[in-house]
């Protein structure tokens, strides 16, 4: 059947094309097939990276394309690395990344562990838990703005009901100390299901016979969790942390929709500062240098993280 299809294809190939293809080696044919992908990758990933590196050494402004571009050397980098506002934005980013990852990993793993118990209706609950992850960040940002409303918001009402504080004094988005937490809550709500899904895959990959052997050895449930479940699911947990870490370092949409970096600059994460420099102040060269600094930070961390992940997998 397959041979016949191949023969039909060979017969249907126009003679000039067939003559051309006949001379190509297997390796050449492989290159022919992957070259469109490589070209696309070069055009949309590699070229912009090198272009941004070039721009980071210049005073280029995207709103003044006809102006003469001067080479500034490392001046943009020196300015960024001496700027106190950007240093504070970095600390805000670190605070945000630390808490979101910690909460998402803890809650995500706990949910995965509970779902893995295979209780009645667990498929329904899995689907329900996954819903936030499927929503668009724009939708999530907008409806959480309503939830956080001090007058009509359900979130404020629930907190007021539990704590007895009047709902009008729960200003989640405009209070300096609450605003960062409002974003952390939304990001955790939205992306915990993603961490749960990866952890669930890890838990489901643990062979049942290991638990049976542990039962024979009369290992307690606690002991089974610490000696079997956690070490065997660890590579998956680490993978989830890596994905969320990279994603949260460049977090923009949720912060922009919920607080826009405010009140003041309390929630101004690095990506918001970058956007302001690039598209409000139009300092393209300066913002390119900032983007390269963030890129090196995430790239370096991802490298050592992958190294640690490989070590855990080899154990």
């Amino acid at each position: 059947m397959l041979n016949r299809t191949a023969e039909n294809v060979a017969r249907a190939t126009p003679e000039p094309l067939a003559r051309k293809v006949r001379g190509i080696s297997d390796k050449g044919l492989a290159w022919l097939f992957i070259s469109p992908t490589i070209l696309l990758l070069l055009a949309i990933n590699i070229f912009p990276l090198f272009w941004a590196i070039y721009l980071s050494f210049t005073n280029y402004r995207a709103n003044r394309p006809n102006e003469v571009v001067k080479n500034l050397g490392f001046a943009n980098y020196q300015r960024i690395l001496g700027d106190q506002d950007i240093w504070i934005a970095m600390q805000t980013t670190a605070h945000f990344v630390f808490w979101t990852i910690l909460l998402q990993t803890l809650i995500g793993f706990t949910l995965a562990w509970l779902i893995d118990r295979k209780f009645r209706g667990h498929a329904f609950w899995t689907t329900l838990i996954l819903v936030p992850m499927m929503l668009s960040p724009a939708v999530v940002g907008n409806f959480w703005r309503f939830l956080y409303e001090p007058q009509i918001g359900l979130f404020s009402y629930v907190i007021s009901f539990v704590s007895g504080i009047p709902p009008t004094s729960i200003q989640m988005l405009s209070n300096v100390s609450l605003a960062p937490w409002s974003i952390i809550i939304v990001d955790t709500w939205m992306w915990t299901p993603y961490v749960m899904l990866i952890c669930l895959a890890g838990l489901r990959s643990i062979p049942e016979y290991i638990y049976e052997a542990a039962e024979v050895d009369r290992a307690s449930n606690w002991r089974q969790f610490w000696s079997i479940t956690l070490p065997m699911a660890l590579p998956f947990i680490m993978l989830a942390v890596l994905f969320r870490g990279i994603e949260n370092f460049k977090m923009f949409d949720m912060v922009n929709l919920l607080t826009g970096g405010g009140p003041g600059s309390t929630t101004e994460v690095a990506s918001i500062t970058l956007k302001r420099q690039a598209f409000e102040s139009w300092r393209t060269g300066y913002s390119s240098a900032f983007a390269i600094i963030l890129f090196v930070a995430v790239f370096g961390l991802a490298n050592i993280y992958v190294k640690a992940l490989n070590k855990v997998k080899q154990r």
Binding site: Y77, L81, G82, Q84, W87, M90, Q91, T93, A94, I293, V296, A297, F299, G300, L301, N303, I304, K307
Partner: protein, 47 residues
């Protein structure tokens, strides 16, 4: 060598996001860049 590169990246990363001294923040990028370049090179060496 790979361990030195890893340590440089980690130290640079902590320097970039720490809230204690601006001077540490200033030298964070060069530390991280040195570590990353070193890591890329030494990770290609046969073990």
């Amino acid at each position: 060598m790979e361990n030195i590169a890893t340590a440089l990246i980690a130290i640079g990363f902590l320097m970039l996001f720490q809230p204690f001294a601006l001077s540490l923040y200033t030298y964070s990028f060069i530390t991280m860049l040195a570590g990353t370049v070193m890591f890329i090179i030494v990770s290609k060496f046969p073990e």
